[in-house]
């Protein structure tokens, strides 16, 4: 095709409905699994679990298929500048929605630190609440001892978390070097910097696992350790999940670079993934500052 048509209206496609079914199977499996595990049925095993994993497999299948179609269209040169701009805007707004999702959990963290924990210790006009409910409770952050009496130790900022900060910031730089190389059509530096980024992402995740094991086993820090543990694990957990996704996507980009899918002008997928990668990096900086450091 010499020139892409201005408007590309795709064929009807089976992938969205497969995706909807996959989401349904996953959600149904997850709900069944979760609510059974709290009931007596747990003893008899749960059929929710296999359904959940089948759903996840279906989602993966859908993504392969759907992205496969998009990649084929792109490689055949069907994507006009207009569509490229649509994809860009779409990705940017998607990242904004992700920012709001993390915002909620940061909101919960700040609410607990600034309001609910001090209030439970009698701040403001809550003296009577404090005296009547948990008179022994003291306001500390990290919350070493919850009003209910669960205790934990705090995670230190300047060990592995600091190393991880350096790793993630570095990876943001290397992915930018890869992007520069791509724009200049320099294949070897592109592959080198991108591979290095993937490796840094994987290292970060490994260190996070090490840190989680340390938290569970030695600090007594878990989801159940009060609001400190809840916010710590939900924030770092969702961040870790996003880094995992990002690393996988970077890996896919690496393979696509090997296959020579991108040109110095047309490489939206690469840019989208690098935006995503910068986004998880920035989230981590906030995490490091407010969850670990202060």
């Amino acid at each position: 095709m010499s020139e892409a048509p201005r408007y590309h209206v795709p064929h009807s496609s089976p992938w969205p409905i497969i995706g909807s079914c996959a989401l349904f199977v996953t959600a149904f499996g997850a709900a069944t699994f979760i609510h059974q595990s709290t009931e007596k049925v747990a003893a008899e095993g749960s059929f929710g679990e296999p359904i959940f994993f089948a759903g996840l497999a279906l989602i993966a299948f859908m993504m392969f298929g759907w992205f496969g179609v998009v990649i084929r269209e792109s490689v055949q040169g069907m994507n006009s500048g207009l569509l490229d701009r649509s994809y860009r805007m779409g990705m940017a707004w998607f990242i904004i929605s992700e920012v709001m999702f993390f915002g909620v959990f940061f909101g919960a963290l700040f609410y607990a630190r600034i309001l609910s924990v001090p209030w439970l210790a009698g701040a403001g006009n809550n003296l009577e609440t404090h005296v009547l409910l948990w008179p022994d409770f003291a306001d500390t952050w990290p919350l070493f001892r919850t009003p209910g009496g669960t205790t934990t130790e705090a995670m230190q900022a300047w060990g592995l978390p600091f190393v991880n900060t350096i790793i993630l910031v570095t990876s943001s730089v290397t992915v930018t070097f890869a992007h520069w190389a791509l724009r200049k059509n320099q294949r070897v530096p592109l592959l080198f910097w991108l591979a290095l980024t993937v490796a840094l992402g994987a290292t970060f995740l490994t260190l996070q696992v090490v840190e989680y094991i340390h938290a569970f086993n030695e600090l007594g820090l878990s989801l159940g350790a009060g609001i400190y543990g809840s916010t710590f694990f939900m924030l770092t957990g969702f961040h870790g999940a996003h880094v995992t996704m990002g690393t996988i996507m970077l890996g896919v980009m690496l393979m696509r670079c090997f296959s020579g899918h991108f040109t110095s002008e047309h490489h939206f997928a690469f840019e989208a993934v690098s935006w995503y990668w910068h986004f998880v990096d920035v989230i981590w900086l906030f995490l490091f500052t407010f969850v670990y450091w202060f």
Binding site: W93, S116, T146
Partner: protein
């Protein structure tokens, strides 16, 4: 030039072809139709639940519904109406109309559009299936406050949570699609400040959706982990706070109520100029007012929580911020009235619904202002006055807006004029029924009748009986509406391209019914409107 390939699909057996068409479609018109039918179907289901509620409240005492079942009906009615009726209804209108109104060939991301729709039937299957589970459906009200939904929620709450996650994914993806379409696919020459107001209001709505649906996802995730994984977000014993749930929920919830009304504002701003045969008064101020309402919606959530023991400064802040919203809303109402001022008005059904919208929505706005006053709210909180307030903004607001839009654009969609006599009958019965249903709730609420309770004291009996009679009548009007819609789809006088002689805009330059693919090449903007509308439209106002 457009690359599409419907023509090369080999012939298939009829049923299979039918299923394939609707399951696999990437066409904005077909997907819009799907959204609208989903919304309409759920409207009957959620409406039937409202009938159960009103039947039970017809007289004091417990006659038909046990308290637990009553609570389930109440919860599901609210959830389905908000997430299943009003939102998909507006998205359906957006799908049909935004590409037509901005001269785009389709939505920007057509496959994603199909995905956004088809998630929904599954999500509502998940939600409605909870009615048949052990322990029953969610019974904590559509606001699902912790700890009612965490510590004390029925087992089916987990299905509710996953269902909400699916709806959230659908809404965010749909909103992304709408924003990208509006920013990227406008006809050459159409600047942002030349867009039809329906498009403007949807742009703002989509922005609100992207900002707050992830917040809803976050709060139900916290619920899920509080229920099953030992976190203490909403538990004071772990250092959390059940009131934090309300903060997060209403941070989502207040922009959400504007998501439920802004497209309605847009619809009124399309219809009133058409039938007043005048340009919209104060286009720019309409746009700025919409933006102002959206911005303010992020800083007023606390007015839902005045009785939670918030610090005084918080109460004052939220009170003043809330009352500030009356300013842009007042600008809008003023502009609608000023548009009608000295217009050559006719009162076809869409116009009737639009005027009903302006008047009755304003009543709901005023009762909202009453609720914004902290000392007054201490009295009104959790009474039927609140129920009256939000039903006035939702029924004659969102639902009348949607119905006005359906009557307005149905000739464009089907190629047929609806039955004007039946349409008018629908409006007048509906407007009587709405007021009969919801107006007495103001009085019972002010007299102290609590909401969300299956039984009530004798002194509220008269008001409730009137409400229930009105609700029954209102239920019947939906059947009439369904009949009118089906009748119009099946036949009727042929509609011309422009349909209404005062109508302006790109959507009136394509034939009626609009062909499957429109604006395959970018249209001329501003369009030259066809002056000869009478051809093929014998139905005129008398």
């Amino acid at each position: 030039m457009v690359a599409h390939a419907e023509d090369v699909v080999p012939p298939r057996p009829a049923l299979l072809a039918f299923a394939a068409r609707w399951l696999l479609t990437t066409n904005h018109k077909e997907i819009g139709t799907l959204y609208l039918w989903l919304s309409f179907t759920l409207f009957f289901i959620a409406g039937a639940m409202a009938m159960v509620i009103r039947l039970e409240l017809f007289q004091p005492g417990i006659q038909f519904a046990q308290p637990l079942f009553y609570n389930q009906m109440l919860t599901m009615h609210g959830l389905l109406m908000v997430f299943g009726v009003v939102m998909p209804g507006f998205v359906g209108l957006a799908n049909w109309q935004i590409p037509l109104m901005i001269g785009a060939p389709d939505m920007a991301l057509p496959r994603l559009n199909n995905f956004s729709f088809w998630i929904l039937p599954f999500a509502f299957t998940l939600l409605i299936s909870s009615l048949f589970m052990e322990g029953g459906a969610p019974n904590f009200g559509w606001t699902f406050y912790a700890p009612l939904s965490t510590t004390y929620g029925p087992p089916s709450t987990d299905f509710f949570i996953l269902g909400v996650h699916m709806m959230g994914i659908s809404s965010v993806l749909g909103a992304i699609n709408i924003i990208v379409t509006i920013f990227n696919l406008r006809a050459p020459g159409m600047t942002l400040m030349q867009m039809p107001l329906f498009v403007w209001t949807w742009l703002i709505t989509a922005f609100l959706l992207i900002m707050v649906m992830p917040v809803l996802a976050g709060v139900v995730t916290m619920m899920l982990t509080d229920r099953h994984f030992g976190t203490s977000f909403f538990s004071a014993a772990g250092g959390g706070d059940p009131v934090m749930f309300q903060h997060i929920f209403w941070f989502f919830g207040h922009p959400e109520v504007y998501i439920l009304i802004l497209p309605g504002f847009g619809i009124a701003s399309q219809i009133i100029p058409t039938f007043a045969r005048k340009k919209l008064f104060g286009y720019n101020s309409m746009v700025y007012a919409t933006v102002a309402i959206a911005v303010l919606s992020f800083v007023v959530w606390g007015h839902h929580m005045f009785t939670t023991g918030m610090p005084l400064f918080g109460e004052l802040f939220f009170m003043y911020a809330t009352m500030l919203i009356a300013v842009p809303t007042g600008v809008k109402v003023f502009n609608w009235v000023a548009t009608m001022w000295r217009g050559s008005m006719t009162f076809e059904t869409p116009m009737l619904f639009a005027i009903g919208f302006v008047i009755l929505f304003t009543i709901g706005g005023f009762s909202g202002l009453m609720l914004a006053l902290v000392p007054a709210d201490f009295q009104y909180h959790d009474t039927f006055f609140v129920v009256a307030h939000f039903h006035y903004v939702l029924y004659p607001g969102a639902i009348f807006g949607t119905m006005a839009a359906v009557y307005y654009w149905l000739p464009k969609w089907t190629g047929h004029m609806y039955d004007e006599r039946l349409g008018k009958l629908h409006f007048w019965v509906a407007v009587v029924a709405v007021n009969l249903t919801f107006f007495p709730m103001h009085f019972s609420g002010l007299a102290g009748m609590p909401r969300r309770v299956v039984d009530y004291s004798l002194q509220f009996a008269d008001f409730n009986m009137v409400s229930s009679i009105g609700a029954g009548l209102l239920g019947l009007t939906q059947v009439l509406f369904l009949y009118i819609v089906i009748k119009t789809i099946r036949g009727g006088p042929k509609a011309s391209a422009r349909v209404w002689d005062g109508a302006e805009g790109l959507e009136w330059t394509v034939p009626s019914p609009a062909p499957l693919h429109t604006f395959e090449t970018p249209p001329q903007f501003p369009p030259v409107m066809d002056r000869d509308v009478d051809e093929g439209t014998p139905i005129r106002n008398e």
